[in-house]
């Protein structure tokens, strides 16, 4: 599988929910597997907040395997011998699609001149990409976390474009707690002097410290208390005793610092601001007259929702809320709460039951 970055310039300006349009939008995407002659076997995979289009190929920056390479590939649950998988970097991100680090008309990076975007804007860009690729109707749209929000938004706003919708560990809206954690991350970035109001692209120093703190805080929300305890407990890091200082005495501290600094090498701080904002603005019911069932009134798709019992970021109650709305609108829906110890990140990790559910739903 190639790790080359494929880009496509959208032919038309992209209208945005916040008003106005985004001109000369470029979408970076990857595909896996062959598109059938009748175009019926395409699956759109939607990535999460810090994800990208490199689903099942080596990441060009980190050199590590794609984020869902355990799920996507020949003979895997999302079988690329059978399906043509498309994954596009969301607009506002930093892995090749147009975002705050991209050049504006004056040649300088947008930085904070980039418009605030929504989940629906991201999906509008995906639809424009599918149009350009000649994919009329998807076999399925699939995503976890923010990817699940995109899948639901596509089903609600472009109901004729997908036959199946698989939304994992996600929600129809961001809760106060979800928004609160994102605000913590944004404030950490903005409090970093190197952020400089977002104009740091040509500076010597990048707002890496702020972005690392944002990632550390977010990373805690992706794991369960039991997972952290099981992995680290109160174990000390490379030492026999506490240092009576502020080094990373504990393994969990060292782990979080490593997660934070690793993230700053592959992610843009302004992109983090814009994408978390889009997630906070997400409320599928609000977009549809305040009633979630209305969002799915036009759908002819089959739905499958999956939650994890240890996920406290997008807990099972959020999936149930969606299931009730889908039942009320008469849509065929499956829902299962899977047992997995890892917390929200379970959707990315080794959970064999998820493999079976994904394969069964997409094949059946």
């Amino acid at each position: 599988m190639s790790a080359d970055v494929t880009r496509l310039a959208l032919p038309d300006p992209l209208p945005l929910d916040g008003g106005g349009v985004l001109d000369q939008v470029v979408i970076a995407y990857q595909t896996y597997g062959e598109l059938a002659a009748d175009g019926s076997n395409a699956i759109l995979l939607c990535h999460a907040l810090s994800g990208d289009q490199h689903v099942a190929s080596l990441h060009p920056v980190t050199g590590r395997p794609g984020w869902w390479s355990r799920m996507v590939g020949p003979g895997k649950p999302i079988d690329t011998d059978r399906f043509h998988v498309v994954c596009a970097n969301v607009i506002g991100s930093c892995m090749g699609s147009t975002g705050p680090a991209s050049a504006a008309e004056d040649g300088a990076p947008f930085a904070m001149r980039f418009p605030v975007i929504t989940i629906r804007d991201m999906v509008r860009a995906h639809i424009a990409l599918l149009d350009a690729l000649g994919i009329e109707r998807l076999h399925a749209v699939v995503g976890g976390s923010m990817g699940g929000m995109q899948a639901l938004s596509l089903a609600a706003n472009w109901p004729e474009r997908a036959g199946r919708v698989l939304a994992i560990a996600t929600s129809s809206r961001h809760s106060a707690q979800n928004i609160a954690f994102h605000e913590l991350g944004r404030q950490a970035i903005m409090a970093d002097p190197a952020w400089s109001g977002g104009d740091y692209y040509s500076a010597q120093i990048q707002p890496a410290a702020g972005l690392a703190v944002a990632r550390m805080a977010a990373h805690i929300t992706y794991l369960s208390e039991a997972a952290l305890t099981g992995k680290f407990g109160r174990n000390l890091q490379d030492r026999e005793a506490k240092s009576f200082g502020f080094d990373a005495d504990f393994q969990v501290e060292s782990y979080l610092r490593h997660q934070g600094s690793g993230f700053t090498r592959r992610f843009d701080a302004n992109s983090y601001l814009y994408i978390t904002r889009a997630m906070d603005y997400f409320d599928l019911a609000e977009e549809h007259g305040g009633l979630l069932a209305n969002a799915f009134a036009q759908t002819g798709a089959r739905f499958c929702l999956v939650s994890f019992d240890s996920d406290w970021l997008y807990p099972t109650a959020e999936s149930r809320h969606l299931v009730h709305a889908l039942n009320a609108s008469g849509a065929p829906v499956s829902f299962v709460e899977l047992s997995a110890p890892h917390g929200h990140d379970s959707f990315l990790l080794d959970v064999p039951a998820l493999d079976r559910v994904v394969k069964g739903f997409l094949d059946g």
Partner: protein, 197 residues
């Protein structure tokens, strides 16, 4: 449909093709799969056990993990042609409310249950003085999920009290259909097709 449990086979035989069916407590989805494949039915399920739900979804069935006592209320009225409740009514915390809910979401309902007045049950209580453990009710009293045992007569009385019409009924012993004479003695389990009165 040869492999279905006898009550499920009768239900599958009597559901009209292309109808909408909700199977509550659908287990591993045997009835749903038979209806989908044999009668092009829009078949949905509700099941409380996550392992069962996972196996259903892995077969491509539309099944929601949920507790019927709580989640049935979320379905709009008359959203299904049939609601099916097989061998589950006796596990409900309030069977009377469950029956009312069934006939709210379904225009018709199929309900099957083990008959506690079956003569082997009676003899176990009468002669041995012990709570019966039989083929139809194989679990000891302290670990059974069956918290509201009922008899054929009890069920028909409840249906009458709730103004529910008994359209058709079938009785089974040793996994075989039997004639309805003295069913409250002779039947190990019973199946009814119901409609609102």
């Amino acid at each position: 449909m040869a492999d279905l449990r006898p009550d499920l086979a009768v239900i599958a035989d009597h559901i009209r093709p292309h109808s909408r069916v909700l199977d509550i407590g659908c287990g591993d989805g045997a009835l749903l799969a038979a209806l989908r494949d044999g009668k092009q039915v829009d078949a949905r399920g509700m099941e409380i056990d996550g392992g069962c739900v996972e196996r259903c979804v892995a077969q491509g069935l539309s099944v929601v993990q949920g507790d019927a006592g709580r989640d049935l209320a979320e379905y709009p009225g008359a959203s299904f042609d049939y609601a099916v409740l097989s061998q589950t009514l006796q596990t409900a915390s309030r069977p009377d409310r469950m029956l009312t809910e069934l006939l709210r979401v379904g225009r018709r309902a199929f309900v099957s249950f083990p008959n506690f007045a079956y003569w082997r049950m009676r003899s176990s209580l009468l002669l041995a003085g012990r709570m019966p453990v039989t083929r139809a009710l194989p679990v000891s009293w302290y670990e059974t999920q069956n918290i509201h045992h009922m008899t054929v007569k009890d069920f028909e009385q409840l249906a009458s009290d709730l103004d529910v019409r008994l359209e058709r009924r079938w009785f089974f012993t040793r996994e075989r259909p039997i004639r309805p004479a003295a069913a409250n003695w002779r039947a190990e389990s019973a199946l009814y097709e119901l409609q609102r009165g």
